[in-house]
Symmetry: D2
Subunit: 435 residues, 4 copies
């Protein structure tokens, strides 16, 4: 037992009347909502990077946090692992996620880096035997090291591609061995700083090849997890190829990979791409691509990725609506890709962030479940499109009418369609009843 | 001869030293650039809507222009056609573009509307025999009438779908008969105002069906033109399905239409989607989807579609770079989807806008041609990716190596890739030599 | 009694369990919150323009609504007034707001326009005797008519300035006679489309002169209402001089008017200016400039003014926090500068929009009152700044120390300040307890 | 002589036909433009921070550059100074700028930090005797150290205020001793991360006090330089108090400081605040606040401060228009607050960036001078406002007419102002003649 969280006890559900800032007010893991335990709906995960590896820096200032494991190599990494599992226990969450470089220091060579990662992986494995927290997903950091400054899979230098492949192989295998339920690829450097030095088509081919290698290796080693791509429009690169869900879908189709991969959708990335979060979920769900969620929020006035904890229950209710309608996230979950602000220096701040986030998710889940149970919302939706169930309309949609036939019908019958109210305000009020 | 442009003469090329505001200073249609007449590279077109049908309104104010053809029904439409062709002649441009509702007033029924459009179409046909201006593309306005408020192809009401089909059939056939080289679909209402009343998947199926009907009818009537989709992220709808080139590509693939359709890329729409114009061209070109261009610019501080005339030669040079590299726009061209500001009341203002736009395009074209002729830019690009031509790298990209083999190689050889300068500033300076 | 709202009854408070879409679920006008009736806190107003004069158009489409008073001149205006007061009664709200051109058609001359406005004003006066709805504010529309395309007060043509003065005089006097509690100036055309034709300094002088004329006339006629400027950054103009609260404050100071004028702050305008709504309120309140609110919301993905009904209770709670802390809005109120979407065609939609908006405001108010009553929030705020109460710090802030003295003290005492947690997540959770 | 720039010679003007990437093509320091040497117009400066202290990191990756002076304490600082002055000489520029922490490592105490800064300052002083490069401005970095995470002058902890005062005193005095012509304050942390823990009014008072201390100390030590505030809307803070020029002006007036301080306007900051660069210059100039410029550009698609080198001559021509019209920048200049991209690893990249930037400024300057010399632009501007020179209009603007008198005049004369074309496209074409 480290003394990092000294004096702090496991966070319990105390109900909405509680004034205890270290209690859950809405997140009650065993409460049944829409036929399932709340925890089994949300499947919340702690992100190792923001919570244990981040230092509070920003582009205009350095480290503000002061953690006992900083600058201590493998010894620090072991202490960090101890603290991490204590934290999982304090919050009583079922999952965590990590990048290789979050958990262990990079070595001089890939071999040494991989060895370091495996050493900590063994510690994880032991801890996971005695604790209930499991691995939601693992991932390789292919963006921080300077070797990746011009891309990993999409680097003009094939050696970088190869190095990245070696790094992913290690993390993918570790993820598999730890029972990880997903493997995520986020391509922060897979894009460009300037088109002036970039062959877009070549880089797309490289990216598709890389992804194919990962999929094939996953199959070969018997990994049953889901492969996920996490879209983001830009930052760190000026433009990233995995801009948003629709773009990822087009890319996957082009290379015949759309059945192999789903999306891990981050709230803030949706916003930065010019979309609402619910939009990205709705699109992904309609394409069979909604795999998992990176829960956070973006500051509405900042043009960069702020990765704040979710605190908008209404936004989360709309998200859970799409998730519940598709029968849940399956192997996916809600990973808190969220960090406390750089002024939030205290260990307790890490708890407050996650508590607030989980309570927000719980409110969203309950709202969505109630909305669906009420039924009016879905009924109104169906009624709006009911015309398409008529035989003539259905035939038209199926492809049994030509343009000419349709036009002839309009002219012959003098069809003059009359607009009906879209009822947006009514629907907004209806949703607000449950939020 | 109307007296609308009384006192104004045909605009001629006078060279960059000219101070005549009604002369071209850079656009010299017969000048040979990169082996082709300038006009044949640019293939400029006048947009009927902005130039003749727009009234200078905005969301906070009504009509500012005062044109003799307003509010005069078919008589006004005929006068407008006369003025339009006089304008084409004044500017000496080879193409124009139109929507059905730009050229003729809507009637009480589709039949009457179509008849009106056809009547003006006959006038166009006659004028086109004696004048050199041809039709770059036609299109149907499926967004202004209130019947389309909730979508045309994607309307919840199948009658609206059918009505739209009838409208497109008429314009597509007219476009064909007038020798139009392309047919464009812009889906301003194909999207949603609120997800709360929207079945995304159903609407996508509708949109694909509609597009298929159009493609099939085009084939049936022998239309040899290119079918084009014009992406735009939003406005008038909150979200439009044809968000950007990558999204359109994914949609087309999903329904097996990616060989049938290309994109008409508008400068301002690229900007509103969070992209540079050259990005959209580069993406489209890499996918074989770069068909045509809507030339304009968006105000850099306004979050809506400002459709101003292009005046940034550097931006246009990057555009022409991609166009020249793919061998030109083929049947496409540069349509000025641009309008004079609502304070630009005078007939002469219509000329100033187009003159400035054409001169900007001419400067861009000449810059791109010079950049390519110089050769260093392309050489540097090739050198940056040269590593991929090595046999081992080529095999890796082709798929002849597994993830394991690649990883083993990195570990065995202790591969440690060294970053090389991306030379962005060097390349920017190089490009600036030609702009 | 018109039949416009036929079958719809007065909206009553039914409590949060109600499923009646035509009932208030949170807005309970007589409920005492923080020592005052809810209605007296909120002072809600209906905006005549969006509710009765708007037609459902947008930049890509025309009128979608179909109201019996359209295109009927003064007869239509009288019918519109009847419907408006029936609507005020249906919603049971205490206030409304109007522009001159909302209530009566413009005539051929200023005299005729003013006469029309006064004729409807007399109808208002009669209705206001028998109904409880009062005038929150009046304003002149100095932006829709083409004469104002290049500005009203800031027009390069002094005749336009004069015409605008004549229009304001009429509305100001009518506002006074109707017992209006405020007079608002929104300068949608007081800005520029392009700097290339604009003398910024000259236009600022014009604007200050115009404002001074209005202030002096208000005093002369004995108007006791508050003069308010409504900031907005852009749209319709590319740039508007009343960009945001801070800009308005600088302008007022420059011309010595900062004691005479306050701000009417619109939610959506704050967002378009790159600020949160609560930021604008906080700034205004700290400057003694927070006078009134235009309640609405902006779509978070649209770059133009969407004027949707508020539906974010959390945002409104932060707003009411600043309002309650300054002792309320005084003569100001919450004007719903919000419109139903153009697809919301039905009379009932007008009710749904306002009901949802009022319920949102009520939740916000109650949340803010509870937050203040709880007290922890304010206590934490005070504690954070408590160091400044120490004598040395207070002296430094008061100006009793020179830079040199302060520096000497730091060097002598080897001052090395230690950062303390900003507790953002804790505070967010605390606020969420009350929302 | 270090070997950092080994093999690179002084950059000379070679004219626009030159293909030498290490020559100026437009910047010809001694060329007379508008009656003055080009260098004396532009007064270009190298920024020590981006050029010598930056490491190529970004929020998702660390150091990419590899400079021999990194991690070497005072010895590194001395080497850095040698390289810096070699660079000034290579580029042949007359000015540089620095923060204290750019030039020397921070110590354990303020005393030690100041001593380090002074030691390097002495080296600068010696070098400046033998080289022609002078100090455009100095500034204190009050944002990178964790002590400033919650603000410097606006910190809730008065000890931080004091520490910052001690730091500024040292840099201000060094700036004075080195003959610096300006002193700049940029308040990256003077703002807030969340309003939830912020007393806006208190922090404004602190900021005004701090600024007053600096002004008084500058006077006391006989500093003749200009005090400059550099506006920026956000980043690193969510909101910064010096949002834009208009906001700074309002703040200065409020505390009676508007005669003491001018603005240093950064291109990219203008963009991030929702303005064009020329807007900020025009506003500042109209208020007598245009003091100096931070030359760079922001990526048009990135929502954060990208600090790229200027490469848009048209934008710079509009900037120089305002500068020339006010008679130049006086003691100010053009500081390249611009950094090579993190992939631009080579020493030569530092040269390419500045060469491209200087050539862009030179083109802009020459364009503006030619525009003014041509005269038509200014003539058209004057003509547009000529109506205000008429006696009646002038009286109205001067305040010799009441609202009532003006209204009476409009009614009596039946004034009906007719709009005139704003000629935006004409003016854009006119400007393009000179760019
Ligand atoms: Co993420
Ligand atoms: Co993120
Ligand atoms: Co277009
Ligand atoms: Co457009
Ligand atoms: Co408003
Ligand atoms: Co608004
Ligand atoms: Co700067
Ligand atoms: Co900057």
């Amino acid at each position: 037992m480290t003394d990092f969280f000294k004096g702090l006890n496991q966070v319990k559900f105390e109900g909405s009347a509680s004034k205890n800032p270290l209690a859950y007010r809405h997140y009650n893991k065993d409460e049944i909502v829409a036929g399932k335990r709340m925890e089994d709906h949300i499947r919340p995960a702690i992100a190792y990077w923001h919570t244990f590896a981040a230092e509070g820096g920003d582009p205009f200032g350095g480290r503000t946090f002061d953690r006992p494991w900083y600058d201590k190599g493998m010894e620090g990494a072991r202490l960090k692992a101890d603290v991490a599992f204590e934290f999982f226990d304090l919050l009583d969450v079922p999952f965590f996620c990590f990048h290789d470089v979050d958990i262990a220091p990079e070595g001089e060579t890939l071999a040494e880096s991989n060895k370091n990662v495996r050493a900590i992986g063994e510690i994880f494995a032991r801890k996971m035997q005695s604790q209930r927290t499991k691995l939601l997903w693992g991932t390789a950091n292919l963006f921080s090291n300077r070797r990746y400054m011009a891309g990993a899979a999409t680097n003009p230098d094939p050696e970088v591609f190869a190095y990245a492949a070696g790094q992913v192989k290690n993390v993918l295998e570790l993820t598999h061995e730890l029972g990880g339920e997903n493997y995520v690829l986020w391509g922060g450097r897979e894009g460009y700083e300037t088109l002036l030095n970039t062959k877009l088509g070549h880089e797309q081919d490289q990216m598709a090849r890389f992804l194919t290698l990962v999929i094939e290796h996953a199959k070969k080693i018997g990994f049953k997890g889901q492969i996920l791509i996490e879209p983001k429009p830009q930052e760190p690169s000026k433009h990233q190829y995995d801009y948003d869900v629709a773009t990822v879908y087009g890319f996957l189709q082009r290379y015949g990979l759309e059945k192999e991969v789903k999306c891990n959708i981050e709230v803030g990335h949706a916003f930065l791409a010019g979309h609402s979060f619910e939009h990205e979920l709705a699109v992904a769900s309609s394409l069979g691509m909604l795999g998992s969620v990176d829960a956070n929020r973006n500051d509405l006035q900042s043009g960069w990725d702020t990765d704040q904890f979710p605190n908008n229950a209404g936004e989360m209710a709309l998200a859970f609506y799409y998730i519940l309608k598709q029968g849940g996230l399956g192997q996916g979950g809600f990973n808190f890709d969220a960090k406390v602000r750089r002024q939030s220096l205290d260990p307790a701040d890490l708890l407050y962030g996650h508590i607030g986030g989980l309570d927000t998710l719980a409110r969203g889940l309950k709202g969505a479940a109630a909305l669906i149970e009420d039924g009016e919302f879905d009924t109104l939706m169906d009624e709006r499109y009911a015309g398409w169930n008529q035989p003539g309309a259905a035939a038209m949609l199926k492809g049994d009418r030509t343009l000419e036939q349709i036009s002839d019908w309009v002219l012959a019958e003098n069809i003059n369609p009359q607009p009906r109210s879209g009822r947006q305000e009514y629907l907004e009020n209806l949703v607000n009843r449950f939020v």
